[in-house]
Amino acid sequence: MKILRNRLSSALLVLFGASFITFTLARVIPSDPSLAYIGPKATAAEAAKLRITLGLDQPIPVQYVKYLAQTFQGNWGYSLSTKQPILQEIRDRLPATLELIFFAMSFALIFGVALGVYAAKYRGKFQDSLIRILAIAGVSMPAFWLGLLLQMLFAGRLTWFPATGQFDIELKYDHPITKVTGFPLFDSMITGNYHATFNGLHHMILPALTLSAYSFGLLSRMARANLLEVMSQDYVKVARAYGLSERLIFFKLALRNALPPIVTVTGLSAAYLITGTFFVEQVYNWPGIGSFAVNALLSIDYPAIMGITLVAAIGYLLTNFIVDLIQSKIDPRVWMK
C-alpha cells in the first residue's frame, strides 16, 4: 500500500512538473496565440480584445493557477486552431493512436524478440548478420524518412498499400463503421463489418511498420545480446554437462532469464511510441493525437500543447507502472526495491 502511495505521489509530482514547464515555455516564446484563433489578417484591435477574452493579458502565474483549477474540473480549454474542446479532441483522436501503437508494438515485440532469438541461435552466421543489419537500420533511420520511403515504394510504386489515412474514404459511404467503443478497427470487428476491418488492417500496415522500426531494432538487439550473455553463464554449461537438450536449455532456461531487461525495454519502447506517432501520423495523415500535436506545435496552439503533454505524461507513467508490475511478477525483488 505504501509503495502504491509513493508511486502515486511521485506520478502527481511528475505531472505537475511537466504541466508547469510546458505552460511556462508556451507563454514565454514570442508569439501571439490570439492570432492562431482569429487568423493572420485580423486587426490589432480584434487581437487585443481576444487576448483579454482568453485571459492572456494576465500574469503567467495567475494564468497557470486558473489553468490547473479548470483542468482538475475537467475543463482542459479549447483548441485555438480547431476551436473544439481539448478533451473532446483527445477523446476523438486517442483511439486511432492507441490502435496504431498497439499494432506497432505487436510488430516490434513479435518480430523483434523472435528475430533476436533467431540471431542469437545462429550467432555469426548469415541470418545473424542480416538481422543485425535490419536492427541497426530500424534504430538509426528517422521515422519520417522511413515512412516516406515505404510510402513511395509500397503505395506510390507498387500500389500494394494505401498511402495515407486510417480507412478508404469511400468506406464511410459504403461500409460505415458503427461506433461502439470508439476504437474504429475494434468496432468494425465486433460489429461484423469485416470489409472495414480488412480495409483498416490494410491501411494499418505501413504506418505500424514505420512506427515499430525503432522498437523492433532495439528489441532484437536486446534479445540477442541478453540471450548470448545468459548462454555463456555457468548454469547453462552445467545443464549442457547434464546432457539436457539444446532446445530445452535455450527456450526454458536461457530465454526466461533473458526476459527481464527485454520487458524493461519493451516498456520504454511503448512510451517512445507515444511521441513517435508525431512524425508517423503526419506522414500517413493518420487521424490521431500525433498529427494533432504537430499541428498544435506549428500553430502555437498552447491549450492543445498542454493537453497533449498531459496525455503523453500520463501515458509514460502508466507504461512504467505496468512494466514494474510485470517485472515484479518475473522477479519480485524489483517491486521491493
Partner: protein, 527 residues
C-alpha cells in the same frame, strides 16, 4: 537431399519465413471499394480557423465560396464581363459613385429554405462592417436602404467600387439572419460545422483538422446542378502526403502539391500542370527605425545586391516573376512601368561607402513554415555578404516572427520577409496601404516607414478609386515610384499559382480574385 532436409536449412528457412510474411502482408491488399457514386475526393492544406462567414479571414475561404454567396462574383482575369451575378442579378451606381443599387435574385434561398431577402443582405453587411474580420472593406458604407424585398441600396460616405467590394473573398457573404442571431447569442454556434449559407453546397460533416464533407444543396438557384453531390475533403498539411494521395488514387485531386514536384507531374500524361497569375507577392521589410537602415542609400545598396533572377528561380521553382513594387501582377493597381531593381553589386558597394557603412550585420527573419522562403532566404544572405554585409538568418513560425516585429520595433529584426496578398482584388487599398502607409502602431507596416508624400498619394488614390479608377491608378503609380526610390522594402517576386489537374476531370480554372478557393459546383468528369 529430401524435401524436409532442404527446408531444415536455417538460411532457406529464413528466406521462406520472410517471403511468407511479405506475401501475407500483401494479401491484406483488398481491392479498393468501387468509388461511391457522385463523391469527389479532395486533399487540401486549407485549415478552418472559423466557420463564421462574417469573421472568416483565412484559408477556410476554400470551403466558404461553395457554401456562401456574395452579391457578385468577380470573374478571372481577361473574362468579360468583369463580374458575374451571384445573389444580385443586376446592379448600378449613381454618377457620383456614392449610391449603389442591387436587385436580388428571385428564388434564391438559404440552406434552411428561407428566402434571401434585402433584409438578410442588410443584416449581413451591417454585421460584417461592425464585427467582421474584413469589416474594413465596408468603410465607405454609411447606410443601407431596403425599399423592397428584392432591392438593396447602399449609401456611401465617399465613392467606392462597391461591385468590387461586394465580390470580396472575405466579409461579403450574405448570411441567413437566423444564423446571425444564433451566433450573437452563442459565439461558438458555427464551430461544429453549422452553416447559414445559400451556396451550391452545405456542410454535411466536419472533423476539426481532419476532414470536411460538403453536400449539394438541392434547392440552389442555379439551373445546372453540380455533377458531384458530395465533396469529401481531407485536410492534409503536408504537400508530399497530398501528392501521394492523389497519385495513388486515394483522392481525385490534391490542391497543395509542392512546386518542387511539378517537373515530375509535367512528365506524367495523366495530369496537366497549369500556371496562373496569383495575388501572392514576396516582400522584405527593412527596419527603417534603425541606423544605418534609416538611410535610403543603404537600403538601395542592399536592394541592388540581390540576384533577383536566382531568387525568383529558386523560390518560385520556375513559377514566379520578379516583383514590381508591392503590387502583384494581375491585380489593380499593378503598373508594368514601375521601375525594378537589378543586381548591380559594384554600385551597391559604392552606395554603402558613400553612406559611410562598415561592418554592418543584418538580422533576417522569415516564416519557417514557408518552404519557398526557406529556399530563397539563404540567397539574400549570400547577396549581402557579396557586398561586405554580414547576415544572420532566423527561420521562426510566422506568428512568432510577426509578434516579435510588432512588440519592440526598435529592437526587432533588420529585414522581415513576408508573403502577402490583398483581402480583395485591390492591392492599392490593401498592399500599398497596409504594407507601407504610416501608422501609429505597427501592424502590417513592419518597415515602420513614414513618408508624408507617399501617405498623401495613397489616401487620395483610395478615395478616387471608387469614382475615377484611372486617376487613382496614376496616383498609385507615383506612390510606387516613391517605394522604389526610398526602398523601405525589398520587392522580391510574384508567385504564380500552379495547379496540377488530373486529366480525368474538368476543374474550373483558378480565379485570382478568390486565391484560396475551389468552386466544386463546376467539377465534372472530362468528356
Amino acid at each position: 537431399m529430401s524435401f524436409k532436409s532442404r527446408f531444415s536449412s536455417p538460411k532457406i528457412r529464413l528466406i521462406a519465413i520472410t517471403t511468407s510474411a511479405l506475401l501475407a502482408i500483401a494479401s491484406f491488399a483488398v481491392p479498393n471499394a468501387a468509388q461511391a457514386a457522385s463523391v469527389f475526393k479532395v486533399a487540401t492544406s486549407a485549415a478552418v480557423t472559423t466557420w463564421d462567414p462574417v469573421q472568416s479571414f483565412s484559408t477556410e475561404a476554400f470551403y466558404m465560396t461553395n457554401i456562401y454567396e456574395p452579391l457578385l462574383w468577380k470573374n478571372p482575369d481577361g473574362v468579360s464581363p468583369e463580374y458575374a451575378p451571384a445573389l444580385a442579378t443586376s446592379w448600378s451606381s449613381s454618377t457620383n459613385g456614392k449610391t449603389w443599387t442591387f436587385k436580388l435574385r428571385a428564388g434564391a434561398t438559404f440552406h434552411d429554405g428561407s428566402a434571401v431577402t434585402s433584409a438578410a443582405v442588410k443584416a449581413s453587411l451591417e454585421s460584417s462592417k461592425k464585427i467582421g474580420g474584413a469589416g474594413f472593406i465596408w468603410d465607405a458604407l454609411k447606410t443601407i436602404d431596403t425599399p423592397s424585398d428584392d432591392t438593396v441600396v447602399l449609401n456611401l460616405s465617399y465613392a467606392a467600387p462597391m461591385d468590387l467590394i461586394a465580390s470580396s473573398t472575405y466579409g461579403a457573404y450574405i448570411v441567413n439572419p437566423k444564423s446571425l442571431d444564433a451566433v450573437a447569442k452563442d459565439s461558438k454556434y458555427y464551430e461544429s460545422g453549422k452553416d447559414g449559407g445559400s451556396g451550391p453546397y452545405t456542410i454535411s460533416s466536419y472533423k476539426a483538422g481532419s476532414s470536411v464533407v460538403l453536400s449539394a444543396y438541392a434547392k440552389h438557384w442555379a439551373t445546372t446542378k453540380p455533377a458531384y453531390s458530395t465533396i469529401d475533403i481531407s485536410i492534409v498539411a503536408d504537400g508530399i502526403t497530398a501528392q501521394q494521395m492523389m497519385t495513388s488514387g486515394q483522392v481525385d485531386w490534391a490542391t497543395n502539391i509542392p512546386l518542387t514536384s511539378m517537373t515530375s507531374f509535367k512528365r506524367n500524361n495523366k495530369y496537366s500542370v497549369i500556371k496562373y497569375k496569383s495575388p501572392f507577392n514576396y516582400v522584405g521589410y527593412f527596419n527603417t527605425l534603425r541606423a544605418p537602415l534609416n538611410n535610403p542609400k543603404v537600403r538601395q545598396a542592399l536592394s541592388l545586391a540581390l540576384n533577383y533572377r536566382e531568387i525568383t528561380a529558386v523560390g518560385g521553382q520556375g513559377y514566379a516573376t520578379q516583383a514590381r513594387s508591392a503590387v502583384p501582377a494581375g491585380i489593380y493597381p499593378y503598373d508594368p512601368a514601375t521601375p525594378q531593381y537589378q543586381m548591380a553589386r559594384t554600385k551597391a558597394k559604392q552606395l554603402l561607402a558613400s553612406a559611410g557603412v562598415k561592418d554592418l550585420t543584418i538580422k533576417i527573419t522569415y516564416a519557417s513554415e514557408n518552404s519557398a522562403e526557406a529556399r530563397f532566404v539563404p540567397l539574400i544572405k549570400d547577396a549581402f555578404e557579396a557586398i561586405g554585409v554580414k547576415a544572420e538568418v532566423q527561420g521562426i513560425l510566422f506568428n512568432q516572427q510577426w509578434a516579435a516585429a510588432k512588440k519592440d520595433p526598435a529592437n526587432a529584426q533588420d529585414l522581415f520577409i513576408v508573403k502577402y496578398w490583398p483581402t480583395y482584388s485591390d492591392a492599392g487599398v490593401d498592399n500599398l496601404w497596409s504594407l507601407f502607409h504610416s501608422s501609429t502602431k505597427p501592424f502590417f507596416n513592419l518597415s515602420y516607414w513614414k513618408n508624408t508624400a507617399y501617405d498623401k498619394l495613397i489616401d487620395e488614390a483610395t478615395e478616387l478609386s471608387g469614382s475615377d479608377k484611372a486617376a487613382a491608378q496614376k496616383l498609385y503609380s507615383q506612390a510606387m515610384v516613391i517605394l522604389y526610390n526610398e526602398a523601405p522594402g525589398l520587392y522580391l517576386y510574384d508567385e504564380a499559382q500552379v495547379s496540377v489537374v488530373p486529366k480525368k476531370f474538368d476543374i474550373p480554372k483558378y480565379n485570382i480574385n478568390y486565391p484560396f478557393s475551389a468552386f466544386f459546383a463546376g467539377v465534372k468528369l472530362s468528356s
